[in-house]
Symmetry: C2
Subunit: 184 residues, 2 copies
């Protein structure tokens, strides 16, 4: 069976996690991976309806995503998760569950100034006006990864550049079936 | 990729779902399947902590199991679920999500008399004494499948016989990789 792995995207709302996931997925599929994107919002609908955004509820949500990711990895899938996952501890637990060797933590960086400027969904304005509680980066903490496997920066890189950097790391780990095949 | 599928075991508590799952899993693995057992109790810990046994909570729990099963099936796994799943509607939704062609519904039958006689965990006595609410088959309904793909009967069959009947159906559907390989 092919080697499964998880690309764990973490970063603030609007930083570009979902966009990167959507662009990375077909690149991995083209290289022979069986790809699954677990998007934070979608997973909340299917696995975590009723949970809110307190630290406890966020931790439970992330634990569920990592449980599902670990099952998929076990069966050879290339999983991309796109959830804010603001707490270091919860990400460390996800790494532990999935296995460090198969866990690629990607910090999707973007400054708050830039996110407020973009504010596609108008959420930052609301949060800064005090209308949204538990909004990561404004009224709730975001603990940036200290040693991510890859850092991409949506403020200064194109999506293609970011996807390229992630692919380099995945290739370096020897996870791409087309490369494995070519080496046989 | 190999064809994924789900063996969906349904039946009363103590009827033998987990035992069948444990015995079926290595048989499938020996035939080349990438097997995952989603046991009701274990899944509740990982995906449904906090949910109770009201109809709504049971439905949500079953929907989560079927969501995870559908993802695994998509990536080629042979999934065995062992959850009471008492409601016809919830099982029909699971079938719809996973896809009817890849969904093998197995009714694990056992009479209430026999279950009360076995009562391994002492739960039936408690339920019949009115000490357990929402106990399927006693204080909560169990809607037996009307047209299951396989019916096994732990009251009159050995575990080997039951597992054998399920394997016949899986083979008939053409899901066993070793058979597929042999046919090539």
């Amino acid at each position: 069976m092919n080697q499964g792995f998880t690309v764990w995207l973490t970063g603030l709302s609007g930083a570009g996690k979902s966009t990167i996931a959507e662009r990375l997925a077909p690149e991995l599929a083209a290289r022979g991976c069986s790809v699954e994107v677990l998007d934070g919002d979608e997973v909340r609908t299917h696995l975590s309806k009723g949970l809110g955004f307190s630290r406890d509820d966020r931790d439970i949500n992330i634990a569920r995503i990592s449980f599902v990711a670990s099952l998929l990895v076990k069966h050879g899938a290339a999983v991309i998760t796109a959830a804010i996952s603001p707490y270091t501890q919860a990400r460390a637990e996800a790494r532990g569950r999935i296995g460090s060797a198969r866990f690629v933590e990607v910090f999707v960086r973007c400054s708050l100034d830039e996110l407020v400027r973009r504010d596609v969904k108008g959420l930052y304005k609301k949060a800064m006006a005090g209308e949204l509680q538990h909004f990561t980066g404004v009224s709730d903490p975001y603990e940036a990864p200290e040693n991510p496997d890859v850092t991409v920066d949506s403020e200064i890189e194109s999506v293609e550049e970011s996807v390229g950097k992630i692919l380099v790391e995945i290739k370096r780990r020897g996870f791409l079936p087309s490369e494995i095949k070519a080496a046989l």
